[in-house]
Symmetry: C2
């Protein structure tokens, strides 16, 4: 983790992942689960839970960049666009500040679809 370090991770979730996430977290809002219900909303189809979509930040920090030993201190999230299952997204990371005294990094965290539209944005603070 150095100032300016970048990392990109491509991912997608299935409707089965969304259903399991709903089961584990108890977030059974029908907007995520029931297509007939979702068709009548402004989204016109089921959307993924924002927390599931954004969990890729936790996955990447905990397992890839920087990986094991990383401690998650803060995460800010703006849910800018609905996100859909069976759709590829890129999670994009850039270290924008390093506090070397205590190994803390501030990381800009974005999710973009393949048309380069940002769906989630925020910053994270991690100890590495």
């Amino acid at each position: 983790m150095k100032l300016g370090s970048k990392y990109t991770h491509q991912y997608s979730f299935s409707q089965n992942d969304v259903n399991l996430f709903a089961q584990v977290t108890g977030d059974i809002n029908p907007l995520h689960l029931n297509e007939e219900y979702a068709e009548k909303t402004i989204f016109k189809t089921r959307i993924m839970h924002g927390f599931l979509s954004a969990s890729v930040f936790s996955k990447v920090f905990g397992t890839l960049f920087p990986g094991e030993g990383c401690i998650y201190l803060e995460q800010n999230l703006k849910f800018l666009q609905p996100m859909f299952c069976n759709t590829l997204y890129n999670a994009i990371f850039e270290v924008i500040e390093i506090k070397p005294k205590n190994n803390i990094a501030v990381v800009n965290t974005l999710i973009k679809d393949l048309k380069n539209i940002t769906t989630i944005e925020g910053n994270a603070v991690i100890k590495f």
Copy 2:
């Protein structure tokens, strides 16, 4: 949702929930899964994923307060203390700002353990 509205929801997760969350999200950091590994860290035992612990905010907004129809716009999270499975926590909500023109609420969101120690804090912005 009115200025000053409050809501509290008590919850806990099991290690099985943590394992399922790891499976769905791909966040297989051993700190959450492997007791032998976790014993050698500063936490001395497995801790829950911050995103699983904080997913209660999404659950409550989507299903209880205000419930169906709520749109999640923003969530800020500070992970202040490690959180453990099979342990009761209170998720505490207070509406701190209302923008009536577009039905937007800013909600202070806290998680506290039963000793009243805050483990996660942040604010959410929702459309209701």
